[in-house]
Symmetry: C2
Subunit: 546 residues, 2 copies
């Protein structure tokens, strides 16, 4: 039965609503002017990441009230329940223990009274053996030829994290394998990959918790036929990561080639499990362990740092602050590093699938806006695309700017230009440009008073737009582990304030059911009799055009 009080009725919520009125009357520029030490005061460190919140509307008063909200909604208690292995994914009755996957300190994690550590260790050992055997050419493809490529099949959480990390860690690849990812059931994704790869020297990974995810299953079937047709075998060349080893064996996989998953690891946080096998194959086991260690360091920070310095806590509360009190409906993620190209897509899933919900864990309506729309492209590219809107529309959109201090290339001048651009954008967003400066420029260009009246508003930069800057020393396994764990916990914190179960995803179910109902019509069956006239018409058009 519903039991959570409406958020609007919490005194902490009402206090923040009142407080926002005061905050809206000032500007970031004024906050900086009032406190010469603001930059240092709101620059934080967590697991080697440097996080600058000075260009957000954070003040001691705001921080105090956000702390009240966190306490009123029990965020720390929910965090502790997560680390304790309690079934906080209540709608599915599951624990949420991705933190256990990366904590190799010996700390105890239990699910239903059972230690999970030994299982994790065994899976890691199985991964390490597999990686060593492939890298060392002890495990080979058809005709005894060494593996040259890995084709990873998986979708959603089984693809976004591994694909992001394999690309981001390009400078750390070892073993010389080519890594390829196919998620979509669209044959235009798989066909060109199969055409470019040699079935004799390709290792195929299939990541699916149920081993029945339709896209992955279909791609696995086509890849299996391709292996066989090319003289290879499923038994030697296909590896599954799944919680259903029986289904994988029925598909023809060798028992040794089945790595485990558990119901206490959600898809969105599965890259730390054996789903991360493509990462380990790309960068080696030592680097994969460094990735886990980086995330574990951030977990420890989240678990133990005092509220005022707890970076994921602050980021999660800022998300609520901007979403519900400033009306921000979107959040831009702009990594100033081309290798983090897929970070926005990864975070889209993490934020929008975790917290894109309207019902709370007790079934009551959340009644306020939840997950923002997450979007982004790498800087500087985004500057030539959607930044126009960030600077000049009336929408307030918080921006995350990610900067990497040390590059992994030696082209002169490029990195300095990149970093100067990233920093400059945070300045432009926060402080804008005064109308006096714009007026001067227009006057200097000889424009008439009438022109200036028309053009000045079009060239106006109001500023006062928040940015969070995250600085990484290098793009290496440890810093990336910490970065992704930071975002995971941020999403957890915001979800806890909203009272959501961030770990289920019921909203993906109906589309699957309806797709299964429509599918036979494409194979010549009579369409379902109750189709609406739009769907029926489109179906007829599609069938007529084949």
């Amino acid at each position: 039965m519903p039991s959570l009080p409406p958020l609007h009725e919490l005194p902490a919520w009402a206090a923040l609503a009142r407080h926002q009125g005061e905050c809206a009357a000032t500007t970031l520029a004024a906050l900086f002017a009032a406190d010469p030490d603001r930059g240092r005061r709101y620059r934080f460190e967590a697991a080697g990441l440097l996080v600058d919140l000075a260009k957000t509307h954070l003040t001691p008063a705001t921080l105090g009230r956000l702390g009240d909200l966190a306490r009123a909604t029990g965020v720390e208690a929910w965090r502790d329940r997560m680390f304790a292995g309690e079934p906080i994914n209540e709608s599915e009755g599951r624990a949420v223990l991705h933190v256990a996957l990366r904590d190799r300190s010996g700390r105890s994690y239990r699910v239903d009274g059972e230690e999970v550590g030994p299982r994790i260790d065994a899976a890691l050992a199985q991964m390490a053996t597999l990686v060593d055997e492939v890298h060392g050419c002890k495990r080979r493809g058809a005709g005894g030829r060494p593996f040259e490529n890995v084709l990873h099949l998986g979708i959603g959480g089984s693809e976004l994290g591994p694909a992001l990390l394999v690309e981001a860690l390009a400078a750390h690849h070892t073993g010389g394998l080519g890594l390829h990812f196919v998620a979509n059931v669209d044959g235009h994704a798989l066909a060109p990959r199969l055409a470019a790869l040699d079935p004799a020297t390709t290792l195929v990974l299939v990541a699916s918790k149920t081993f029945s995810t339709e896209e992955t299953r279909k791609n696995a079937e086509t890849a299996a036929a391709w292996l066989r047709h090319g003289g290879g075998t499923v038994e030697r060349q296909m590896v599954a990561i799944t919680a259903r080893p029986d289904a994988a064996r029925a598909f023809g996989l060798a028992p040794d080639n089945i790595l485990p998953l558990w119901d206490w690891v959600g898809g969105r946080t599965s890259l730390w499990s054996a789903v991360g096998l493509p990462i380990a194959l790309a960068v080696g086991t030592a680097n994969f362990r460094a990735l886990l260690a980086g995330a574990a360091r951030l977990d420890e920070h989240f678990r133990t740092a005092p509220f005022e310095f707890n970076v994921p806590m602050l980021l999660g509360l800022l998300e609520v602050w901007y979403t519900d009190f400033w009306g921000a409906g979107a959040h831009a993620v702009v990594p100033y590093d081309e290798r983090l190209r897929r970070l926005p897509a990864y975070l889209q899933q993490l934020e929008m699938e975790s917290n894109g919900k309207a019902a709370r864990r007790d079934g009551s309506p959340v009644g306020v806006a939840t997950a923002p729309i997450v979007f982004g492209e790498p800087g500087t590219n985004g500057q030539h695309a959607f930044f126009q809107l960030l600077h000049q529309s009336e929408r307030l959109i918080p921006v995350d700017v990610l900067l990497v201090a040390r590059p992994d290339h030696d082209l002169p001048g490029h990195h300095d230009a990149l970093l100067a651009n990233g920093l400059a954008q945070t300045q432009a967003l926060a402080f804008g440009q005064s109308d006096a400066v714009t007026h001067q420029a227009l006057t200097a260009a000889g424009r008439s008073a009438e022109d200036i009246a028309r053009l000045l508003p079009q060239r106006r930069f109001p500023g006062n737009r928040p940015a969070t800057t995250i600085l990484l020393d290098r793009l290496d396994p440890a810093s990336l582990g910490a970065l992704l764990a930071l975002y995971e916990h941020k999403v957890f914190v915001a979800g806890a304030v909203w009272g959501l179960n961030s770990y289920d995803q019921w909203g993906v179910e109906l589309g699957k059911v309806l797709a299964r109902r429509l599918a036979p019509a494409f194979e010549g069956d009579t369409p379902p009799p109750d189709l609406d006239s739009s769907t029926a018409g489109l179906l007829a058009e599609l069938l007529a055009r084949r």
Copy 2:
């Protein structure tokens, strides 16, 4: 001086605001139930594209009122002014004539009294010659070796459109060249490309209207050094597309290798000009001309179709309808075709840079929400990421679903599954699932009444969420030309209603200025003295870590 009346004060605007209250009281399901012919009634055709608007909240009454708004804001008159070559990009005093680039019917287009047709013909002929010479190995790289790869350098409009089309038209590639794009100043974008390519057999294209875009200029300098170091030459192996041939010549380019751009072609619509050279090199001149022809067909539709059947008109007005009257702050674009992977990024620029503005063309504030946040990933991938939010959060987010009837691969079963999913998502969004069905499922699963009270809201699919379905027969040059022109004109229509100049982008200027001011500090100079404490602190951290 400001002269446009506030939008709120237009009778047509006020009528729509009242009308929305009535519309919000009904549902898409009710609209379908009331009109068995709804599917056919709101299925439109434009230049070979089939566009289904039946699953939006469009009714005859709404259409009438949107028509009133279009008339009140002079949308058709602005369209006619665009086609007439008037300087509708008023803040820069420029005509906007990308439509002339694709209309090879002999129709007259004039800028300042001068026919632009002959210039366009000459540029197309120069492109065709270059493509023929490269494909026919009459033009060769260093040591007389044929070109094998093309490296295109350009950012924003000089990259997004060409990169999208080269990938989307993979089935139409001819000539055997590898096409590569680098936009970002980040050396992590360029360095791996240079490492993978042979400077002797690579043709480098540099697309920059001013030839001084900082990212492109930096990449061109590095690429030029790479060519020379590898025994190649800028003179033979670099081609520029620019409105500043003098600057390109000063860079060392041969006059024959400089293709023109004009100030009446904006960056966002430049792929139809010589900026489309990488497309022509990938697919050949005939296919490039088919692309132009597809767009021209859509232009003709936009110019002449009656309002009620004018698809870009309807899409533009729907954007205003959902943005300003239904509070939609975002728009999802989900192409069910992996080859359209980059369409969302392309449309982000087109929509958010064109209409992400708060000041109207006369300098007055627009006073209402303008461009939505555009985001998306290919279907089915998006279903496993952000669709949770589309289905179950309280945000209303219109979705464009793109379906391609005939695939260009022969993997059995994949395409049927893909199309069934795309169609099913539009059903799920529009109609959701009744609580009775969910209740039945939970009861059948043996859940208690208490559990059901808690779980049913979490599994609720309210539906009544709008989707536009765009059906393409095949992904070929003509259909893609029509598709992109459709979106261009949609953005134009929405911008005209809002009173914006959709063709400037003042919001990108300040960041450039500030980046130039910060850059010397990275080379050891003293930082600017007036830096805020956040930027100063981050700069110090970055410098300390190098």
